[in-house]
Symmetry: C2
Subunit: 343 residues, 2 copies
DNA sequence: CCCAGGTATGACAACGTTATCCAGGGCCTA
DNA sequence: TAGGCCCTGGATAACGTTGTCATACCTGGG
């Protein structure tokens, strides 16, 4: 009779605890107890229930569970682009921490679009993730206020949050860039070019600040033509580099503001005769073989630190929001130690 | 009264449609209608509801929605390692297709562990993803049978499924390897080494088969010492390469079975005097600068094809499970065109 | 032989949403 | 002006799980 009211043929119809209970000849709650490993079930009963579960191919519906329990054991990660080699290890590190805490990771790419970032973050909140890790694409995160108030733990990585007080994990972009440029200065360079991402992006701003600081430290003026901020697609970067390297007073060294810029810069410089020094922000694969000197930031450490902070909050830690800054590391591989060509 | 029974102070207590309805002075279903953009609500009523939503910071609880509707608009992706540069673009392509269909992507890494793959896939099913894309780590996927029967659309990518009949999207590993080795043969090589992943991995097996086929096509015997299958960590690969390159009859060319092997091979060969030809399976970043000849597979196309197939099924297509094989492409950049050193 | 106390089990409500259905009111038409 | 129809809005029942509580049974001690 039950079979007629609820025909097996209906597509997508899965067995529920009720079905398992009926088959095993026990009550609904007993099945729940077995599934969740709660005590108070005789081995014999448990055996019958397990058999029914096996026979029906039952799998607990976590949506219903979540609805009842309130927690999803899921955290969300909003990043810029999964295909960017910088974010792979970061995402992986977050996942590893989540896994250690028995949580799943949901992620999405914002493609650097603030609107899409918001859309994604809110979609994750609607699915009631317990926590959220965001790599900001936009500069205003007040839209997350109701969520945070409602208890969604939130940590920002790589760039600070805008308009709200929250946990942030950053690399020392200022210090790293300053050290990288100082390294070039120490090798005799006076005219150093800086190519980075659009000025709206926090990391680009910070690195520019570091560049200027290092130049000032050395008592060097910065010509307008030596700084280029904008999209980091190969065309734009190649053009910017080309402009800096030509003219009456070309730069003798380049500081590349991120991994994409570095890659293009390496290509551009490979096609030139006159040696030009290069230091890049972010390590890139095979940089050792290419001899590229870089300021390396530890993407995995960023992800791990953020995730650990998130779970500490989820476990009830009631600290004030804080900003953590991770050190960068200069790795000299040759390209940054080339002396100036002109003199 | 209601406020006392349900104090605002309870942490994590979010406003529900009921709360919104009370505040707006309308019925529950009316709020639902507004939230879902259903017709049959006067502009005035809608306005009041929207104000209440705004004021309370209400966000629909998708868990409850899923429970009621049956569909989650979420697809799961189980891959090997997000930090591997091969999977970033694949994952991104899947995400892009999912986004176009209004779905979110949940992903997890199996770390090449079959048990972890199963655990992950089943966790995703428990969360009732609508579909599942799996890059197999294990060779037996019968554990997914109840899920597939229950309506979870499933597509396997990069490696075939074991023990079940399902959609599969693959690269032409056999043909690609055969073409790569034939390329080396065409440049005069007779003793060619092959270093690849563990023999349990389907892609490694197929590429080995391609290697053997190309050698046989050329009428060349394959010495046992020329083939090395195993973990692809740098140490093991460097050792294997070193062994093949020494001894009385060293190989004059290497065929690298995947991107990790290629990277290590480039490093090993860079430290040698005698030129050794190299062709690698999978393209790697900056390979153009390093002059590495590769068999390129299109990771993004793999992901896109699999995702499109998945959504076609979710939209009701009732085709028989099929296997799609995508072509690979040989990109000559120099390392594969080096003539044999010994003669 | 009866009762206290513990253990195994099940009935029932609740989680927040959507679907179904019904009611009331305004408007149009005859 | 009355009758019928459409249009808006709400009451109520699910969805599948877990938490609460009650009940039946068993054991052992007085």
């Amino acid at each position: 009779m039950a079979d007629i009211a609820r025909p097996e043929s209906r597509y997508g119809n899965r067995p529920t605890m009720k079905d398992v209970a009926a088959r095993a000849g026990v009550g609904l709650k007993t099945v729940s107890r077995v599934v969740n490993g709660e005590p108070g079930v005789t081995p014999d009963t448990e055996h019958r229930v397990r058999e029914a579960i096996e026979a029906l191919g039952f799998r607990r519906n976590d949506s219903a569970r979540v609805l009842r329990k309130g927690r999803t054991a899921t955290v969300g990660l909003v990043l810029e682009d999964l295909a960017d080699p910088f974010y792979g290890p970061l995402s992986r590190a977050v996942e590893e921490v989540a896994r250690a805490h028995g949580a799943l990771l949901v992620n999405g790419s914002s493609a650097e679009d603030p609107e899409r970032e918001q859309e994604l973050a809110l979609a994750l909140c609607a699915r009631r993730v317990d926590g959220l890790i965001v790599i900001p694409a936009g500069g205003d995160h007040r839209y997350l206020e109701p969520e945070i108030r409602a208890g969604v733990a939130t940590v920002f990585v790589d760039r600070p949050a805008g308009g709200i007080d929250a946990d942030v994990v950053l690399s020392d972009n200022f210090g790293g860039a300053r050290a990288g440029v100082a390294h070039l200065v120490a090798h005799g360079h006076r005219r150093i070019g800086f190519i980075a991402d659009r000025p709206g992006i926090h990391t680009a701003k910070e690195r520019l600040r570091g560049y200027r600081a290092a130049m000032e430290d050395a008592g060097l003026d910065v010509a307008d033509a030596w700084v280029s901020l904008g999209p980091t697609d190969p065309e734009r970067v190649a053009e910017a580099a080309g402009a800096m390297l030509s003219g009456p007073e070309p730069v003798t060294a380049l500081f590349a503001g991120n991994n994409r810029v570095t890659v293009t810069a390496v290509r551009v410089l490979a096609g030139r005769e006159r040696p030009v020094a290069l230091v890049g922000f972010d390590d890139i694969e095979l940089a050792d073989l290419l001899g590229v000197t870089v300021i390396a930031q530890d993407a995995a450490a960023l992800g791990r630190t953020a995730a650990e902070r998130l779970f500490r909050r989820l476990e009830g830690a009631d600290e004030a929001p804080a900003t953590v800054v991770l050190d960068t590391r200069l790795i000299a591989r040759g390209s940054g130690e080339v002396p100036p060509a002109g003199g």
